[in-house]
Assembly symmetry: C2
Homo-oligomer: 223 residues x 2
């Protein structure tokens, strides 16, 4: 009933006007993600409207301002695309640690190594806004800290609840994250095609990581 897109119109080929508000809003938001990822937040509303095949003032019926539209883009990409299931993957001790790490990073890479995610994250950072710091704080709390806890457990070290995470430990995790993130930077910001399979790079990096992090873990004697 709410799909009145054509009716007796013989030519549904062309533009369907007068969409349901929620549908139109979704279309605008989706296109805005793609648009701002390409041109940055200085991209003009008229050009966005042109890509949507609507007029520019119509944007303001659905979003009170350009800034509000940008906020929606953040929501769409950095909040909606986070999968809570990742946290479960990391802490599922019925699976070998290395397997968990590889699975998490493969899935995570699958989400962030996209044109939209990488570029929007970088645009946001350059504009400031605190968005990046907020996101990375979440990443640290939900993923990295759990991950270190699991590594501590694996090697029989004290829990992070008893002995706070050290600078060296978190630095190692940042290093792993950097390696993956940089693949996206090379591909989507520098326009340099990757010559290697992402998954195999991840596997190699995780292996190296696990091999190296033992040396920075707190001693067993502690506690």
């Amino acid at each position: 009933m709410k799909k009145p897109n054509r009716a007796r119109s013989r030519t549904p080929i062309r533009e369907q006007q007068r969409l349901d508000p929620s549908e139109r809003e979704g279309i605008i938001a989706r296109e805005a993600v793609s648009f701002f990822a390409e041109y940055g937040f200085e991209g003009q509303t008229r050009e966005l409207a042109r890509r949507l095949r609507i007029t520019q003032p119509l944007l303001y019926r659905y979003f009170p301002s350009k800034e509000a539209l940008i906020e929606r883009v953040y929501q769409e990409v950095f909040v909606e695309r986070w999968k809570p299931s990742w946290e479960a993957i990391i802490t599922d001790r019925s699976v070998p640690l290395k397997t968990r790490l590889i699975q998490f990073y493969r899935e995570y890479a699958g989400v962030i190594l996209t044109y939209e995610w990488i570029r929007l994250f970088m645009f946001a950072g350059l504009k400031d806004l605190g968005l990046n710091a907020r996101y990375l704080k979440m990443l640290r709390e939900r993923a990295f800290e759990r991950l270190i806890e699991e590594i501590r457990f694996e090697y029989g070290r004290p829990s992070t609840r008893d002995l706070p995470i050290t600078v060296l430990e978190i630095e190692m995790v940042w290093g792993l994250h950097a390696a993956i993130f940089y693949l996206g930077v090379r591909k989507f910001i520098y326009s340099m095609p990757l010559e290697t399979d992402v998954n195999s790079i991840i596997d190699a990096k995780v292996t190296t990581f696990l091999g190296g992090i033992r040396s920075v873990l707190p001693a067993k004697e502690t506690v």
Copy 2:
């Protein structure tokens, strides 16, 4: 009248006007580096002029267009700041390989891990322009390929002239580069203060790198 600061008054208390053209041009270029690094290339010429305490049209006496000024900024940062001596450091076989690597990366990091370099490089990448690809091509040719040649030599492997650099080898070098570059991204784009000394991170990364790259070098038997 208005500006009584004149005469041969040796008191440069207030603004000195009417600078020598080459001097003024240098001042503008220097400030433009700082300005565009902060606001991006969409930063407005009027605001730049305000920071320079000059009027906006004066900019156009020294640079025919905003784009020309931006080109000058690229020159100033990505060309002028490259030190040819780095190439000598890498290939100086009178020095232990690890020492050379650490020295090179410390010096290189000293140049690129700055607010201006990191942000301008990212702004340029997002705007495209091919600047990044061009720069990284140079980095690869002048530094990375030499570096791999030295590693091959150190471990008694065939020269890169006889056996081309492999994808795995160059990927390892990219990984090292990523680790360092990402420090700059964290600090100057995400505004996250680094909790660790950069030099010690570099030392650790180089050590890990040298420990790991053996396994991806071509076999001795080849050739």
